[in-house]
């Protein structure tokens, strides 16, 4: 690991106390560890317009998972020699160093780069790229706290951020994860339920994350970790899709609320543009 001369480095040989903890016993009464049913998702809090300096932004809480996304653009494309009739979308996902049980590196590692690519592939089909030629829109996502389903939360949060930025889109993108544990399906897994690559016998184990454009009913992202039988995998994807549809009213409600908040009050204040001087497009 190359040294970073700007920061005071921590000790190289430190280890998380997590490894010395005894593994928790799983409850077997059909309920999950936090008392949810198998198809219950955690309560979602979604708020658009949280970063004042960004063109658009959003913050999502799914249970204890907290993700924030900031969108900048459309602005001049980074490589000025490239002329494209289509705009460019970039995406960067980063875990805060304190977000997971084990402290993460401050430099983006391969896992985060992988997720950046997945979220980019999830968002691109939804954005009208031909509306901003020779420009790019940058999406920066930070996972502040990871309690499971962070990828799904990142996808949802980023698309709400894009909508908040006024970037023209065909549809929002809703993300949902589920965990397959043998014959059991757990929607919206928390971090203790997430696929940990543990082999428990030869039963099927895996985790599926889906990014869906709800009103077009098109899947833009599909990630499967682990190993599942063909029928199980198909059923898992269907479960995730229904989870995404369930999230759609929450997204709509959030965007409507944030638009209403940004409409300047009429009367004495006519002629005064709203604070950011921009219009919001709501489909």
């Amino acid at each position: 690991m190359p040294g970073d001369s700007r920061r005071v480095p921590g000790p190289q040989e430190s280890r998380s106390p997590h490894f010395y903890r005894k593994p928790e016993a799983h409850k077997n009464d059909g309920r999950r560890q936090d008392g949810r049913g198998p198809q219950d998702v955690r309560p979602v809090y979604l708020h658009a317009g949280v970063v004042s300096q960004a063109t658009g932004s959003a913050y999502i809480e799914m249970g204890q998972t907290k993700v924030i996304a900031a969108v900048y653009g459309p602005r001049e494309i980074a490589q000025r020699e490239e002329f494209t009739m289509k705009g460019r979308l970039t995406c960067e996902v980063k875990f805060a160093t304190f977000s997971c049980t084990k402290r993460r590196q401050h430099i983006q590692d391969s896992h985060e780069k992988d997720w950046s690519l997945i979220v980019l592939q999830a968002l691109e089909p939804a954005v009208c790229l031909d509306r901003f030629p020779k420009s790019q829109v940058d999406v920066y996502i930070t996972v502040l706290q990871n309690d499971g389903s962070a990828l799904a939360a990142a996808i949802t949060c980023a698309s709400v951020g894009l909508a908040d930025a006024g970037v023209m889109m065909y549809d929002v993108v809703a993300g949902c994860s589920m965990r397959q544990c043998g014959d059991d399906q757990y929607l919206d897994p928390s971090v203790s339920e997430e696929f940990q690559h543990e082999e428990q016998g030869t039963a099927e184990h895996g985790m599926v994350t889906v990014g869906l454009l709800p009103s077009l009913n098109q899947v833009s992202a599909l990630v499967l970790d682990g190993h599942l039988q063909q029928q199980t995998a198909v059923q898992a994807v269907k479960t995730c899709i229904s989870g995404c549809h369930g999230l759609y009213p929450v997204i709509k409600d959030c965007l409507v609320t944030s638009t209403q908040r940004n409409i300047p009050t009429t009367g004495r204040q006519t002629g005064q543009a709203n604070a950011n001087g921009r219009t919001l497009s709501v489909t």
């Binding site: 391969s110 690519l117 082999e199 030869t202 895996g206 190993h227």
Partner: protein, 215 residues
Amino acid sequence: GSKGSMASTLGVLSDAERLFIVHGVQDDLRSDGRACEDYRHVEVETDVVSNTSGSARLRLGNTDILVGVKAEMGEPDPGRPKEGKLEFFVDCSANASPEFEGRGGEELAIEVSNALQRIFSSRSTLDLTSLCIIPGGQCWVLYVDVLVLECGGNLFDAVSLAVKAALFNTRIPTVLVTADDEGQQEIELSDDPYDVKRLDVENVPLIVTLSKIGH
């Protein structure tokens, strides 16, 4: 399948060409004469690089992949003391395409690398416990290095085939763990170069890429 940065290597198609391809696909005929579900000719050769523990070279049409596996001893993951490790590195060399010059091929290489990491993350693919030497102390770390010599399309499929062949070819020296007088554990490598163990690659997955053209 994945689009990634592959589209830029093909150049721009005219509308007439695009229509020709779409119409051909509707009749189960692709532009090189294949049916929609046909693969190109595959050639696999193992044991091609002498300095490695295992190697393979694969040609799939115009795609040429070289994989070298080096087995080294290292420390296991603290969370998995009884397992060895698999590390992947993909290099899209500048030979493959002029676009890969310098850092151009890095994005694609990372994408392939991540795909390999993901498919091998499931424990059912390879029995990593067979790579353990001293639980919690020493284990075999297999460095799987993929070199893309020529990029003629369908990179993911070709890479997964080549990796499977290289792992099949991998020979891991047999080690003997003895406890000496002070109770310290000593590792001894067998003198016989043919005293090796092989990996069971039966369940190593293969990637299949599909592309949707037209309806």
